[in-house]
């Protein structure tokens, strides 16, 4: 173990020497990593933001329950509220009487530019609206089940959620995320292959050296380590451009969109710390890909005879 740490400078020197001796190969392998990681950066940036969009969307999905006009007594309403609370997946139940509902309706009319005065006459006694409950659910996937449960109760006129499209969006976001992940995985495999090929070439080029090392009794790990470091350095080299890309491009995007993705509903993640995490992930992946690639080669082409 002590010998391992003592020999690290030697291995690093050997790795860099080898990289410069096969500079063209190293660069080509590094650029494969770069391509992979740039795409991965895009993916991570999108996925990270979609995560927060989804979170927002999920919060916005609520069931609007209209209470039948026959249920008007305070006690009955409270009873109903109690029943709603016992339904599974219900997170919160909020009562909104018909006057509040009317105010909300008027706000909506005003916000769409409709003539509020036209509806003025429906205030007070003439209010045709129903008392309502606004229900949040714990799991948006279960919203339909909850709605059906609510309809089974007595004294419910209707239960609606405006979130059918929201749910579709959540599903769409999920598939973007999964599809992207598969794509990135495939690209990573390609990068691993290219790196292992590069390391294979450097192993061939250093064949004589390896034979002598073996001859004088160099330990197997001692022979392997420089190649592993070389792979990691190539991976790291490949990660440099994607890291710069992440910072510059995302910063530009963030500024030009004003921190939101078209609507306030979709706020973008600020550059820090989000971009930092993405960069860490990129560097980590680059080096891991390099390590795995060289590991394959080293084990395959230095197949140890005794």
């Amino acid at each position: 173990m002590i010998q391992f740490f003592k020999s690290i400078p030697y291995h690093i020197k050997a790795a860099f020497k080898s990289i410069f001796r096969h500079l063209a190969m190293s660069i080509s392998a590094a650029s494969a990593v770069t391509v992979t990681l740039v795409l991965m950066a895009c993916f991570l940036l999108v996925a990270g933001n979609i995560g927060s969009f989804t979170h927002n969307l999920e919060n916005s999905v609520k069931i609007h329950v209209k209470v039948a006009p026959t249920v008007s007594e305070e006690a009955d309403i409270q009873n109903l509220e109690g029943q709603l609370n016992t339904i599974t997946y219900v997170k919160s139940v909020e009562f909104s009487d018909k006057n509040e509902e009317f105010d909300l309706f008027m706000e909506y009319i005003k916000s769409t530019g409709g003539s509020a005065s036209y509806y003025e006459r429906y205030t007070g006694e003439n209010n045709p609206l129903r008392n309502a409950f606004i229900i949040e659910v714990t799991d948006p996937e279960q919203i339909e089940t909850v709605r059906l449960e609510i309809l089974k109760l007595d004294g419910i006129e209707s239960a609606e959620y405006g979130g059918a499209s929201a749910n579709q969006m959540i599903t769409a976001f999920d598939s973007i995320r999964n599809g992207g992940a598969i794509f990135i995985l495939a690209l990573s495999l390609l990068a691993i292959f290219l790196i292992s090929n590069t390391i294979k070439m450097t192993i061939y080029a250093r064949n004589e050296e390896i034979a002598i090392m073996r001859n004088v009794g160099a330990a197997n790990w001692f022979i392997k380590t420089p190649f592993m470091i070389e792979g990691m350095v190539i991976g790291f080299m490949g990660a440099v451009i994607p890291v710069i890309f992440t910072f510059v491009a995302y910063n530009m995007l963030y500024k030009s969109l004003g921190g939101v993705f078209f609507t306030e509903m979709f706020p973008l993640q600020p550059l820090m710390p989000f971009g930092g995490y993405v960069c860490l992930a990129l560097v980590g992946c680059g080096m891991a890909v390099g390590l795995i690639g060289s590991f394959f080669s080293v084990n395959k082409y230095l197949r140890w005879k005794r």
Binding site: Q3, K6, V216, G217, A219, N220, R306
Partner: protein, 235 residues
Amino acid sequence: MIREGCEILIYLENVSKCYKNGVNALDNINLQINDGEFVYIIGPTGSGKSTLIKLLDGEEIPTAGTVSVEGIDVGKLKHRRVPYYRRNIGVVFQDFRLLPHMTIFENVAFALEAIGKDKVSIRRRVREVLELVDLSDKAKSFPNQLSGGQQQRATIARAIANKPKVLIADEPTGNLDPEKSNEILELLEKINIEEGTTILMVTHDITLVNKYKKRTISLEQGNVSADSAKGGYIR
């Protein structure tokens, strides 16, 4: 035939080696070499000389019998331990195998770096062995600037840098003219005496064997056909 007063270093007992392709390279060999001996191994091509070296080096495992060096059962060594065992054994090849992009000094130092020696002791030891093989003035030269004899001396320096117990020289004079061959042999004798290294020299060179008489083991078709302590080419 145990020689009194000497420690047994290499001990082969009923060793046979049969390769996967059916070649019977060694057939029931018994050998004993003491610490500090200088031994020639002679025999025609295909007599099993190379196989013997590979068995001693730990590169091959005997099909039957025991190969023991310094009390270590070489055939039973774990894969992982072989490199560490191999540090006891220096090998010199006919074709030198020096790294062309390194100076002579670096070539010798490389062997010590590869087994993780520290810089200061590497430098000291490299100077020492280059002195021993009389190449101190060529330390900064590259292999292609040296004559064949000088290159062979450099490989010997590399092989003994780690102070191995045994130095195996596989036809070290095969590529050299008689004069240079004598030089190499005298160097090996010097190492044998000064460093106390046991030397096994595989050779085809009858003149050398007859001139510098040492214990001579001759192999023929995988068998020890003669083992003469007095030396000289038998047959």
